[in-house]
Symmetry: C2
Subunit: 239 residues, 2 copies
DNA sequence: CGCGGCTTTGATGTTCATCAAGTAAAGTGG
DNA sequence: CCACTTTACTTGATGAACATCAAAGCCGCG
């Protein structure tokens, strides 16, 4: 599988013009033009297909990654060589920051859940810019803090719920935060859902079937319809 | 209970001279003398008794806290109004960074587990210094990243273990990382252990008793002796 | 077609939470 | 200092929640 560092299907260097990119926003507002251009010139934009690995846990950090489009999962191996998904992230969630600063190796594996596009910047240049540009560094600081607290909150939230509550909770998450719609296609396999909320595949399936039988959701393979949102919310809150 | 913002038993302003303080290290190395002195002058050092609350979740952030001495716990309320401990931290762990940047309110409650000493700096001044001093900001960036990955790693680690494995794991943690000794006094009540690893008080006690019966540890109230480290390690790894 | 991966259901046993009851320890007021 | 109250700790019994094991259906792909 490809990573951002090896050759990928298509990438090209281009100036940044995405209006909703935080890096671009901070850079264009706070960096001197020469530095800003240097950063932009070093940018690589790459497309990744569903299932492709963008960053691999344990590899040396060589680029700073920014998710521009698509949907990704961030995961880590447990002591028992099982995968644990710590976050599902959309563009501008800046979740990749979590695996950039604290060590020389990437801490997490990042995988595309949908076809995705990521921009990347060279490690050393990124560090240089951060060390020389205050507002830029401060922006990164805020983002990393936000990203990490989100992950931690999620762990705390999940750990207080039983399995039905966890399933209900992530279904609502997908509907509210990812797809903004009560009908959507699950971007995760049953096994990945299990890895996300810390339970077995069988129980994920069992509980989804149960929700269907109870008229709370409709399922057909990966497609999900939330039928009785109120009941689902109750289960998420009190389960 | 007192917080850092209200009046506390004893605090006084003083220059920084702690050799092992990261803030002091970064400040003295990278800040201009005038700024450095301004920061030092704004410092408040305060003592906290065991059980005292240093920072309270939900309160407005008004000071940046640095743990100088002692032992603290970082906790958060769950959806169900139960407490969840997300970290036990010693001086220089910089865990307080996690609750400084990402919102206007403290995200976590910080409580002294032993008599502790904390230094604090005004919110706005800290922000000003970070925004104006690159190396300082970069140092903070590294620390926050390190602190958050530690918390996340811990959640991932714990979530892959059964209860016996979790208990074994934290006992070894205390011995190896906190007390550097196989005999120590638990700084946590049974209930707090439960809150740290996500289980009930009764089972904490049951498993501790079981370990004692099996000759793996010795317990007398809060005092713990690790007798059979190898067996404990096995349980931590495979349980 | 046949293979392999993902999904589903059922049966079974283990792990864990809950409930109940009792003991030890620690704080409180006289 | 002792009686009293409260809080922390401990053990056992029970049932619910969850994991594991086994087997079969489904579906895409060569």
């Amino acid at each position: 599988m490809d990573t951002i560092t090896s050759s990928v299907p298509s990438h090209h260097t281009s100036k940044c013009n995405c209006e909703d990119c935080f890096i671009n926003l901070i850079a264009s507002q706070h960096l001197a033009p020469t530095i800003c251009n240097k950063l932009y010139d070093s940018k690589k934009e790459a497309k990744f297909q569903q299932g492709e690995v963008l960053i691999e846990e344990g590899k040396n950090i060589d680029r700073f990654l920014y998710i521009k489009d698509g949907l990704i999962k961030v995961s880590q191996m447990t002591d028992k060589n099982e995968n644990r998904i710590i976050s599902i992230a959309r563009p501008h969630d800046n979740i990749t920051l979590l695996t950039f600063f604290s060590s020389e190796k990437y801490l997490y594996t990042i995988t595309a859940l949908e076809d995705s596009v990521a921009c990347s910047f060279p490690y050393q240049l990124m560090l240089d810019v951060i060390k020389s540009e205050n507002e830029f560094a401060f922006g990164i600081l805020n983002m990393i803090s936000f990203a990490s607290s989100k992950v931690i909150n999620n762990f705390v939230k999940l750990s207080s719920k039983n399995l039905r509550g966890r399933i209900a909770s992530i279904l609502l998450d997908f509907a509210d935060n990812i797809y903004k719609n009560d009908s959507f296609d699950l971007p995760l396999s049953r096994k990945e859902i299990a890895e996300l909320i810390g339970m077995t595949v069988e129980n994920v399936i069992r509980i989804l079937s149960e929700f269907k039988k109870d008229g709370i959701i409709n399922i057909g393979g990966k497609s999900i319809d939330i039928v009785d949102r109120q009941k689902l919310q109750l289960i998420a809150n009190f389960g």
